[in-house]
């Protein structure tokens, strides 16, 4: 395997995007990613991976990889649409990484996209429920928030965390997202905003949950040796890990509060990078719900098991702290266009390591980690990026 680097990233404005079609949304972030490189254009792309969870349901358009190829005007020789529900973006990036690392392609574009606001929000909720186990969970009234609420109830029992502490995660992420020009919600909130918002699934309120969003994100990868031709500050992909529970539902998880799939995915990424959690300068984690970020910090090793609540109280997860988590605003504030989320995490870390994030910049960041999950936290993708010397 040869080393791989990211030389271009791009994002669209996230939120409600009634002004563009699914194909136009793909083009918008890809154009920004090409502009981010020195001279790469769509004709140069040999591999294309499109991360998209449910274009069939949300926009009545299947086959989004061909849609992307048509709108971008490219005919890649290595390509696929990647559907891994909310982890589609991370999984697509991992596939692009392997396409370059293996020598099958010399340039790859990862395009993550989801256009979810086309349908009324009850229908969007129903679509998201399809990710749960239809027969043994959804049929009983399980929804994604209730899955993570069950996890939260278990965490409260095993380790203890309060709704106020969970709310602090939302407050932090909104504070960061307020400084991110593409974020869906650029508004700071308070602990009271969270605690007084409608109950979705106890102990999670509306402001503990990420929103329904339109948006896309793109990343361009090339062999690390050639990266400087295309960007003055390339970012190397030094670790990649993925792991899946043998389960669609929660019944076969060994623990609801230590996510074995995340621990394994993270260990694989850390060992490939030959680094440890303490070497990370910042993290973009999958805060689909506040409880998720808490457990992710622990299972990524950013703090000890059971000490997530102390990490929250200490403020060490803030920009300027020991280990800033979700400086982009996370899914919570930036938005969660499902297929785009994992790619946007890569984009944020890349821009952070290049020092381009303005008011939300993590000073001196050299190494960062991303974590993207799907389902009942049964599937995780982790990447470690480092600024090229």
């Amino acid at each position: 395997m040869r080393p791989v680097a990211v030389v271009g990233v791009g994002l669209t404005q996230w939120g409600k995007r009634n002004d563009v079609s699914l194909g136009e949304l793909i083009v918008e972030s890809a154009e920004h990613a090409f502009e981010d490189t020195k001279g790469l254009a769509s004709k140069d792309i040999e591999a294309l991976y499109v991360a998209n969870a449910q274009s069939e349901r949300f926009t009545e358009q299947a086959h989004p990889a061909n849609l992307a190829a048509e709108f971008l005007g490219i005919s890649p020789k290595v390509t696929s649409r990647i559907e891994m529900a909310c982890a589609s973006g991370g999984a697509a990036f991992r596939n692009a990484f392997f396409a370059i690392a293996s020598g099958q392609a010399n340039s790859a574009l990862v395009s993550g996209v989801e256009k979810m606001c086309n349908v009324p929000s009850p229908e969007a909720m129903r679509n998201l429920c399809l990710v749960e186990d239809l027969t043994w969970e959804s049929f009983h009234g399980m929804i994604p928030p209730s899955g993570f609420a069950l996890i939260a109830s278990r965490y409260m029992h095993e380790y203890g965390v309060t709704q106020e502490q969970l709310a602090k995660i939302a407050v932090k992420n909104h504070k960061n997202g307020a400084k991110n020009p593409i974020a869906q919600f650029r508004k700071e909130i308070t602990i009271e905003t969270v605690l007084e918002s409608p109950m979705i699934a106890h102990p999670l309120n509306l402001y503990d949950c990420s929103p329904i969003s339109d948006g896309s994100a793109a990343a361009i990868l090339v062999p690390a040796k050639e990266a400087r031709k295309y960007n003055d500050t390339p970012v190397d992909v030094i670790g990649s890990g993925q792991f899946m529970e043998p389960s669609l539902n929660c019944s076969n998880m060994q623990s609801l509060t230590t996510w074995r799939a995340l621990v394994n995915a993270a260990n694989n990424a850390y060992s490939m990078a030959k680094l440890k959690p303490k070497d990370m300068d910042l993290a973009e984690t999958h805060d689909c719900f506040t409880i998720a970020e808490l457990i992710e910090c622990e299972d990524l090793g950013l703090c000890k098991k059971g000490e997530g609540p102390q990490l929250i109280d200490s403020g060490e997860n803030e920009i300027g702290g020991r280990i800033p988590v979700n400086p982009s605003g996370g899914l919570k504030s930036k938005g969660h266009p499902v297929g785009a989320t994992g790619v946007a995490q890569i984009a944020e870390i890349t821009e952070q390591l290049r020092g381009e994030c303005g008011p939300r910049q993590v000073d001196g960041a050299i190494t960062g980690i991303t974590q993207n999950l799907s389902g009942f936290a049964t599937h995780h993708v982790v990447h470690i990026l480092r600024r090229q010397n």
Binding site: D133, H140, I143, L150, A152, P246, N249
Partner: protein, 136 residues
């Protein structure tokens, strides 16, 4: 016609499923699952064990009793469940050691703790044979 929560589950519609005995037994008020010779009782019932990959042919009667392992009170749902709102969902840890998801009926959320004894009650849901938890 009752609005279905999703398209009908394949297992509930097509009798050729290898776990058809589960639904046949449920219709006769029996709560059953499969047992892997290596890994013990499985949930949900399967003809292949997700832990060891081995073939599973043995069906066993579950006692249907256990305790609350995790719980939540749902205040927002897809349209099919709106008439049930708010409702309680629990993961029950049954005496056989398996984790089962179902709604909890005949209970106040405030009264339910992790460890509260519960039992399976077989009843129809959306016109289909199903089950809920009730306090034991």
């Amino acid at each position: 016609m009752t609005e279905q929560p999703m398209n009908l589950p394949y297992y509930l519609v097509y009798p050729e499923s290898q776990i058809k005995p589960f639904w046949d037994n449920l219709a006769q008020n029996r709560f059953t699952s499969t047992k892997c010779p290596n890994c013990g009782v499985l949930w949900p019932p399967k003809s292949t064990c997700p832990q060891c990959g081995g073939k599973v042919a043995e069906w066993i009667e579950l006692k249907g009793t256990g305790e609350i392992y995790a719980k939540t009170y749902v205040g927002a749902s897809p349209p099919a469940f709106k008439d049930l709102l708010p409702y309680i969902i629990a993961i029950g840890k049954l005496d056989e050691g398996i984790l089962v998801v179902a709604r909890v009926e005949n209970a106040k959320f405030e009264d339910l703790k992790i460890g509260t004894p519960i039992k399976i009650k077989i009843k129809k849901s959306f016109g289909l044979d199903s089950y809920v938890f009730i306090p034991a």
